[in-house]
Amino acid sequence: MNLEKYDKAFIAAFDLSASELNSELVYQSIPAWDSVGHMTLMSMLEEAFDIMLDTDDIIEFSSYEKGKQILGKYKIEL
């Protein structure tokens, strides 16, 4: 359930297909994941999981996989 919400945020923020969500998806690896796209993704994740991300976590959220670790700090298991 949580993973589905996590994936949906990426798909909506970057207009991706599910098959593109993998360990190679990192910041700036696709045109849509730039500075503006990053903030869209962060907003969507905050809304989806009803959390408030710490600024350190916003800046360190550098990949699809890294994001899973970061959400773990908010007791969200993926």
Partner: protein
């Protein structure tokens, strides 16, 4: 039509250079006559959008399209951020650079922070020439009174901007960036917003800046921060060996 002898490019790039800015009222015949008389090694032509006849004329004369140059403006109204953008922005500060910060900025520029401008992308020039051109440009503007700022997160510099007031109550932040954009996601907006804050603090009426259509992330950041597009010019170039 404005014709400028860009003599500073001899120092920057090692070539003679002319920059021609075509205006709405210029005719094909007038442009054709000017182009045929140019003899600089590096020739730059700027054409306002919507003039296919002029675009065809410069292409026929051997010029190649290299970028669109967008003049973007912010009138400094409604600059308050909301939500996550505000939290991120509030966690960062900015202050004027000290000598050691300036040394670092110059070093970063020499390494190649800017990779989308028409010099960097032009195979006739080297990456080192592109960086050196920025270095000289920045040095000149600082001598003319531009001020250098660093953007800080938890005390560490993550980005920079150069602030220059213009005579009409506005400012021209001609250079800004992140020291490491790859490892600091989301900070492009913060650096631009700090420029807006500084302009507002000084009581400026507007910010006017130029961005390249080759740099999509920067275009998106400007739009998301409330800039509007005032004008777009197509930029064409030609190299001529002597």
């Amino acid at each position: 039509m404005k014709i400028v002898d860009a003599f500073w490019e001899k120092r920057n790039l090692g070539v003679t250079c002319v920059e021609v800015t075509i205006e709405e009222s210029d005719t094909v015949a007038e442009v054709d006559a000017v182009l045929s008389a140019l003899d600089s090694q590096y020739q730059v032509i700027k054409i306002p959008v919507g003039h296919y006849d002029l675009m065809a004329t410069v292409e026929k004369a051997g010029f190649s399209f290299i970028e669109g140059s967008m003049n973007v403006v912010h009138h400094l109204k409604n600059i308050e951020l909301q939500g996550i953008q505000k939290r991120l922005n509030d966690s960062m500060s900015y202050e004027e650079m000290q000598q050691e910060d300036i040394v670092r900025l110059y070093a970063e520029i020499e390494k190649g922070v800017f990779v989308t401008d028409r010099i960097y992308l032009d195979p006739a020039f080297t990456k080192a020439q592109a960086a050196h051109r920025y270095f000289n440009w920045l040095s000149d503007e600082v001598k003319r009174g531009a001020q250098l700022y660093k953007v800080l997160y938890k005390g560490a510099p993550v980005g920079f901007f150069i602030f220059k007031e213009t005579t009409a109550g506005g400012c021209y932040p001609f250079l800004s960036g992140l020291y490491d954009s790859v490892t600091t996601p989301g900070l492009g907006n913060v650096v631009l917003h700090k420029i807006i804050e500084e302009a507002s603090r000084r009581g400026m009426k507007f910010i006017s800046s130029y961005i390249s259509t080759n740099n999509m992330p920067v275009i998106k950041v400007h739009i998301s921060e409330g800039f509007t597009i005032a004008q777009v010019n197509y930029v064409y170039i030609k190299h001529r060996s002597h």
